[in-house]
Amino acid sequence: MSYQSQISDMSPRERLAQRATAVIGLLTLLSLGFTVWLGLFITPPDEFMGNLVRLVYVHPPIAWVMFIAYGVAFLSTLLYLWPRTRDLRFDRLAGASSEVGVVFTGLTLISGSIWGRPTWGTWWTWDPLLTTTALLFVMYLGYLALRQLPGDPDARAKRSAIGGLIAFIDVPIVYFAVLWWKSIHQAPTVLDPLTGKTYIHGSMAYTLLLGFVAFTLLFIYLVAKRYRLAGLKDRYESFLLGEAIEDRKREAMPDLSGVYPDSVGNAGAIDVPGQKKRFSDPNVSVGYDAGLRPDQTDDYQKIGLQNNTGADA
């Protein structure tokens, strides 16, 4: 069985998940397309904002997805840290959700900015909602950078979870603080939380709803794909680990061709009279060369085995 099939062969449950994801993808495409068509061509322009109102089909749904992504990431992190539910899959979910989340946060800022320019006359304003969202964006970046640090999956997960938790806790505190602030951000125009009245009617309402649905589906699709990718990567790494263990064990076998194992830095390159010359032996494992550890050579790095050596052997 080739190593590729060892990694990417799917169990029945995975096959089901893959099919479900494909279906969601199709639905996403359809709903997004429909939203665009409705939003751009069918629905009428607003009496005050004119055509600018069409952004309402895009900007609030994107912001909504940003919140969901954050919520999923936060929840997954908590679930990972809680001993009873500790499972690397939650860590993967947190990572996937954060990656999608950071993209949508960026999109929120951009779409909001585009809406803001004609409406408020400026690309940016330091109102609390905007500032907090920008802050969330940068926090995500830090969290994602933290996730990139090399290490074995458990250590990585724990580290990212704790580092992430500190950042994630910030957000609700701040958003709640924002509620106490007056801002020049849009007063609720769709649904007033106090009175429950809806301000938006007719075809616009349906399009908006469709927009929410479409973008939520997009979120689910993207996270599902990213999650699977993360799972495959982990599987690949543990496969490599198995290989690495075997390779390392093979180091112990004597090489009877006359290689001197501990002649540091002198793999036969210099002519020493009386010493046997080293010839390349395909049976010698990668990197077994003048005291080098396999993970210290380029080939091993290329395979992608993550190791940032801290320990001397």
Partner: protein
């Protein structure tokens, strides 16, 4: 835990007293930052030099922003303080010494945060005096300012020690500290600035809400640090 915390704090303070790195390097850095803020924002009133008896006031913008600038200077100094706090734990493989000591990790966290807090307090005192001197920042409600400073500093130290542990050890990690630290600490900065502005103006009532937020932050970060530091040290 408390005993270990005290021992670690005592050790860190002893090292600082003997090496005087914070006093000799970090403090001047903070002063330079404050001065640079003044240069960048404050207006140099050249015409007034000619007119005798004129009121050489610091530009309005500088005075308005003084609380924020003060906190920004404190934060930047704090980051360096955090880096120093972990740099003393041996040049490389910083974690091994602490781990091998078999100290209670929560104690290590509290001890390091405590030592950092003391150093930060001294820093804030000096920088605060400097800011009031250079920016014309006059505080009316002192207790509010001090309370805000205390709570904000606790948050700074808590987050700093946690991220400091995460970001120390390997070269690829050390540059991570500012990226992690600044966004997370920004809300704390903001709240501290608002509370201090209320203290400057002399309106405690408007400042109390910020104090509450600062208290929540401090509590969260301290708890997180105590609970999580052990896992952070281990790999």
């Amino acid at each position: 835990m408390w005993r270990d915390a005290f021992l670690v704090m005592q050790k860190d303070m002893k090292i600082e007293l003997k090496s005087k790195v914070v006093v000799n390097q970090v403090l001047p850095f903070g002063l330079v930052v404050i001065f640079l803020f003044g240069l960048a924002i404050g207006k140099v009133n050249t015409s007034a030099l000619v007119t005798a008896g004129s009121n050489l006031s610091n530009g309005g913008a500088l005075k308005d922003a003084s609380a924020g600038l003060f906190w920004l200077a404190v934060t930047m100094s704090a980051i360096i303080g955090v880096q120093r706090s972990f740099a003393i734990e041996t040049q490389d493989q910083a974690r091994d010494a602490l781990r091998l000591s078999a100290l209670d990790p929560a104690g290590i966290f509290l001890g390091k945060a405590g030592a950092l807090l003391i150093q930060l307090a001294v820093l804030e005192l000096v920088l605060g005096l400097c800011a009031s001197f250079l920016f014309g920042m006059h505080i009316v409600t002192l207790w509010l300012f001090l309370l805000a400073a205390l709570l904000a500093s606790i948050s700074l130290c808590g987050v700093g020690v946690v991220y400091g542990a995460l970001a120390s050890g390997a070269r690829t990690r050390e540059t991570l500290l500012p990226l992690l630290f600044f966004p997370v600490i920004a809300p704390v900065l903001l709240s501290a600035t608002k509370a201090c502005e209320a203290a400057i103006v002399g309106n405690p009532a408007s400042g109390m809400i910020w104090i509450e937020i600062l208290a929540v932050f401090s509590l969260c970060y301290l708890t997180l640090g105590i609970a999580a530091f052990g896992s952070l040290l281990e790999e």
